[in-house]
Symmetry: C2
Subunit: 439 residues, 2 copies
């Protein structure tokens, strides 16, 4: 027996890296789609990687399960709803493992609980507390391709099955990548990457090759649906590069990585990463609030107690004659009814005049790390909106973002005007490449 | 503070008994059916019982999942198939818990794994090794109605999800009843109970009020589909009475309990419990086997090694001139191909002449504890069959059973002739009550 050459022999081959891939519901909508995804996974395995996949439920199956739930109970208990919905990923992950097996590669599927995805106990929108990947690490070590059910976990205290809420599978993928110290987390979706604006509104929108975590966080928070906020937060915390790309093409997508704090500004760097918009919010105005210390706090405490996350908040200066002020804020439309009920119950206590509810609004946001070092961005943005005849209803800013609330039917023209004003429109040729395949 | 009266006060109320109920797929086929089952469960709870329910997947959903599996892989790995199929009960149990909750009662659903159903590692037909009901006992103690996914468990050694194979939910129910020391295990199905024959073949068949474990074992083994063999074996071992009844009516069904060894024969006791039939078997004949010690053993060892369970076995006396014998046996038709392949590979080694395969057969069985003490049952049975013009192809007997193999198209007339000969036919009035609602 001759020992293999310690430098070049087969035993000394460096351990391959771990790639985590995420496939959403539209990528595994039926048997043909599952087989196509299986081939892509096998390609990554053949390229020498250990592959771990987080997968969502097939197509509309989660909605179908929700429909069944509503047929038996108008208000199903959250624990049972989680038990029901987690069956969706159980189906898709087992089918995906079978399809991989059919290609001659060994795959093992694991529920969130089996994969060690530990969460808090908030059914329906649990947060990942920890990932204990012992069982999937063993499966990787044995050479299996690992398929993990996205969107689900098990609660630390009660050992109950939980779901992570919207975008949960993205978060599962990034959390697995962090726990396994993966090289990259690839998020496969039905678009080619992150665009400078929604190509359905701005046909000349361009795909971004790279974007920082901070910019992506602002884009996601402002309505860009390609990645969810929590997933990007998780990736930033653990410094996991995310590659957002299409499961329907072989094109390179957008790499989300790096911090703006560590980047040297370059000539090439765009001032603005993109223009996001969001039509999912409503605006509530509390009219005639006594302008005393603590009154506003009581309003916001009550809303927080009802688990409602507010977005933009504006308080007018009080009219001197009355010493009353108006408080306006935006919130998800889905929380509108709860918020109005909560506020109405406070009316006699706080002593405000009335409540106004408006869900015919939209939010348009300009996002870019470069705006920190480029004065005049705000003026240029507002000038472009004025030129397009758009009226501003609320304004809020962060270090790398300017957001405005406008009438819902002026959202499209506001996005287009801003996109053009900041020279984001692709040339005609590029627009064909990126804009056309943006859906 | 006055202590409650230790005899009649509320604290001294005797602890209520535990009732385990099982509902099959046809009982929870859609939202309306699930709501009906929920009402029935709540009735049992209102009657003062602690209620534990084992539930199957909805209607045809298991077949739909199998169809999906076959679309992605012609031969899916057994581990992944179990992962896939167990999602079916996860859906039905969560929906059932929601429907109960909607009636104002608290219900908690548990997977087989969560309920402590510990099995061996044979995917697709795992056997229950143990039930560790700590978690469901806690839920009972807290006053919840407990819903457990039938048909599934978790393997002791590998912690993998397993399924129990056909009739698995019946077995789950009985195993839970044994572990919880329940008073009774109610198996809800789409027939009114156990009948003296299949009412589709014998319209005058009667529902049995009671039947012993031993008789029920023979009935199940001989083709009566109302209960599965393993479930009855489990119930006998732990002495759990099974009440088989319809989920579509309030009629009393059939109670399976007691041992024939402990029963005093009474004037009223019928000699024959029923006539069962089975069209799921095939017959294989190994022609011209050298009549030497060990040759037959090698054939049966090979079949056992291929996991094939044989039923009736007949060996002809060898023809003196050739010293060759024929061996015939019956087996499930689904194992026919495997058995023929296994036997063909033995041909040169064992040196038999040829193999014959016949799946146009049926088995008719007469079952009754009374036949032990009543001579002449066999003669009367064969006489009835002869009178109906039925030819016998194989015969096998046990202490409380006589089985014959006949041509498949003579099964119906054989069953009817035996049923009449042993005075099992109901009077016309009874036939309307029992026979008419037998499906």
């Amino acid at each position: 027996m001759v020992s293999p050459d310690p430098v070049s022999g087969p035993m000394s081959r460096p351990l391959s890296g771990i790639v985590v891939q995420k496939y959403g519901g539209s990528s595994v909508a039926d048997a043909a789609a599952i087989k196509r995804v299986a081939r892509r996974i096998v390609e990554a395995k053949k390229a020498g990687n250990a592959v771990v996949v987080a997968v969502s439920a097939m197509g509309d199956s989660t909605d179908e399960l929700l429909d069944l739930a509503n047929q038996v109970s108008p208000l199903p208990p959250a624990r049972e709803l989680d038990m029901l919905l987690t069956s969706g990923e159980r189906i898709s992950m087992a089918l995906l493992a079978m399809a991989i097996s059919d290609l001659g590669f060994s795959a093992r599927s694991f529920t969130g609980s089996q994969a060690g995805v530990i969460t808090d106990s908030v059914h329906g929108k649990a947060k990942i507390i920890d990932v204990t990947p012992g069982r999937i690490q063993s499966a990787i070590d044995e050479g299996h391709i690992v398929i993990v059910a996205g969107f689900q976990g098990v609660s630390q205290d009660t050992k109950e099955i939980t779901t992570l809420g919207r975008g949960g599978t993205d978060t599962t993928a990034v959390a697995l990548a962090a726990a396994l110290q993966a090289d990259v987390c690839e998020i496969y979706t039905d678009v080619d990457g992150v665009f400078t604006a929604d190509p359905r509104i701005v046909p000349a929108a361009q795909k971004l090759a790279t974007v920082t975590y901070e910019e992506m966080l602002e884009l996601a928070a402002c309505g860009a649906k390609v990645l969810h906020l929590r997933c990007v937060e998780y990736a930033r915390r653990y410094d996991i590069p995310i590659h957002v790309r299409s499961s329907f093409s072989q094109l390179e997508g957008t790499v989300v990585s790096g911090s703006i704090d560590h980047q040297e500004p370059t000539m090439e760097q765009a001032i603005i990463a993109g223009v996001a918009h969001d039509r999912s919010e409503a605006k509530i105005t509390v009219v005639g609030v006594p302008d005393k210390v603590g009154e506003a706090a009581r309003i916001f405490e009550a809303l927080a107690g009802a688990q409602i996350n507010l977005d933009m908040i504006v308080q007018n200066v009080s009219a001197a004659a009355t010493n009353l002020t108006d408080i306006s804020f935006t919130l998800p439309r889905s929380d509108g009814q709860t918020a109005m009920t909560t506020l109405a119950s406070l009316q006699s206590e706080v002593g405000f005049d009335s409540l106004l509810y408006d869900d015919k609004i939209g939010k348009v946001s300009l996002i870019g790390a470069g705006m920190r070092s480029h004065p005049g961005v705000t003026a240029k943005f507002f000038s472009a909106l004025a030129g397009a005849g758009v009226s501003l209803r609320m304004i809020s800013t962060s270090e790398i973002r300017i957001s405005v609330v406008v009438d819902e039917d002026e959202v499209d023209s506001a996005v287009a005007a801003a996109h053009t004003a900041f020279d984001l429109d692709a040339s005609e040729v590029e627009a064909v490449v990126y804009g056309g395949s943006g859906r």
